[in-house]
Symmetry: C2
Subunit: 259 residues, 2 copies
Amino acid sequence: MPSNRPKSGSPQAPSPAAARDLPPPSPWRDSRERLRDREVKRDAVIRAAAHAFNRKGYHNTSLDDIAAALEVTKPTVYYYVSNKEQLLFECFVAGIESIRAAFREVRALEAPARERLRAVLRHYGEAVASEFGWCMVRAEDQDLSPDMSAHIKAMKSEIDQGIRRLLREGIQDGSIHPCDPKMTAFALAGALNWIAHWYRQSQSMNGAQIAEAFIAVFESGLEPRPEASKEDPTCRKPKSSSSRPGAPRSARSRAPSHR
Amino acid sequence: MPSNRPKSGSPQAPSPAAARDLPPPSPWRDSRERLRDREVKRDAVIRAAAHAFNRKGYHNTSLDDIAAALEVTKPTVYYYVSNKEQLLFECFVAGIESIRAAFREVRALEAPARERLRAVLRHYGEAVASEFGWCMVRAEDQDLSPDMSAHIKAMKSEIDQGIRRLLREGIQDGSIHPCDPKMTAFALAGALNWIAHWYRQSQSMNGAQIAEAFIAVFESGLEPRPEASKEDPTCRKPKSSSSRPGAPRSARSRAPSHR
DNA sequence: TAGGATGGCTACCGGCGAGTATGGTGCATG
DNA sequence: CATGCACCATACTCGCCGGTAGCCATCCTA
């Protein structure tokens, strides 16, 4: 992942929700006052790689492309990373690390499991919609060496098991409708992962908002609920995405601000 | 798609549910009584391509690989298809065509929309788990020429709009809980598409069964329902996948036979 | 100001893989 | 028998791209 060690200034840290479709700035851009921090440049390389993979895919992105986006040349890129495969791997880890952090963060909470699951899924959606979402979701095993592939598989499995655990806990504490945890976890993760396939920064919603909308779908279910007013006409073809009358109780802490 | 025109014998047509992980047979295998039907061989080429893409990905599959799987050489492959891109495209179309057929089939039904949606999603899941699932789901726009990419985008959009329409109809006729059709369609399609990422033929469930399990999750929702007995202990960690107590009414016509 | 260290560039190599030129083989027909 | 066609293999071309060798500039330090 790009320098998980604490960094002092992090001069080009992107605004957390805004750096997916516009190319990240390059520390090399200003030719005369080049930054000296190696980690900053290394991060920039990985970020540029993630951005390029996002747009053109891993195999259609050459290291010359990445270098050109940073306005340097290929050997410079190799000065910071050992090879292309490592670039993909680091992008993947950068993406998945935030999800793991969400699990750690949630573990301390005392809320019922569905509440905790919701928090995790919201972070999940944010991660998938982030600049590293593509790499996290679409990194193919076949493109990586066996050991890196094993690392990735292990992390993915950890996430999967974490979701299953929350589901089981929720079934146990009564906050989640009885279901098959394995299949449910697959469905949840699949829906969220797929965000990386269609989400573009230009959309009106950000990752967390999409995750919220998905969670609402998953929580209430398609089948009509008796307490829900069945003839609510406001939901017929909602043009503005902010009107989601299907979203039930549990007032979210954050209003769906339109960025 | 592989020869949508009616074919007489189709000698190597695979058993519909069983041809994903084991390589498809080759009409060239028997060297002395080679088949003469061009379409059959062309189908075999496309099927072999789908199988290879499945396992190694598009970019990691060379046309020599595909030819070798058929025990022929590369120019033979080029004798039946014009280029690699077309191979991917035809695999994609072969996969998505079955989904389109499901929509056509369902259009005639008189059932409430949730019932029709369920039928479509079951076919959807089957298609994604089929031998062409990978190509259908993971065909990247960047790997295709602009016009082919446009074709694919149009077909995908058609599917998406079809799901949204069914959702709207269901909200209207009261069979579906009010929700945002766009987001819900994304969530549904995403969960099902993702099957292609983890499903391997060796699994105990087939595509339709997985789709059924997902539909159950989507229909009942995570939130506990009042009518469901909340302390049902049979669901706590169901080891056998056939025990899905969350699956509600609507007796399926087919029992979940374990293949 | 010498000299190392750091960081970057030009110029290359080597291999892989898409696509092709060309020719041979078997079969069907006249 | 010969002529043509369908089909397939051998043996290439050629461009792209991952990765590297080696050189030059700048800066920090003594």
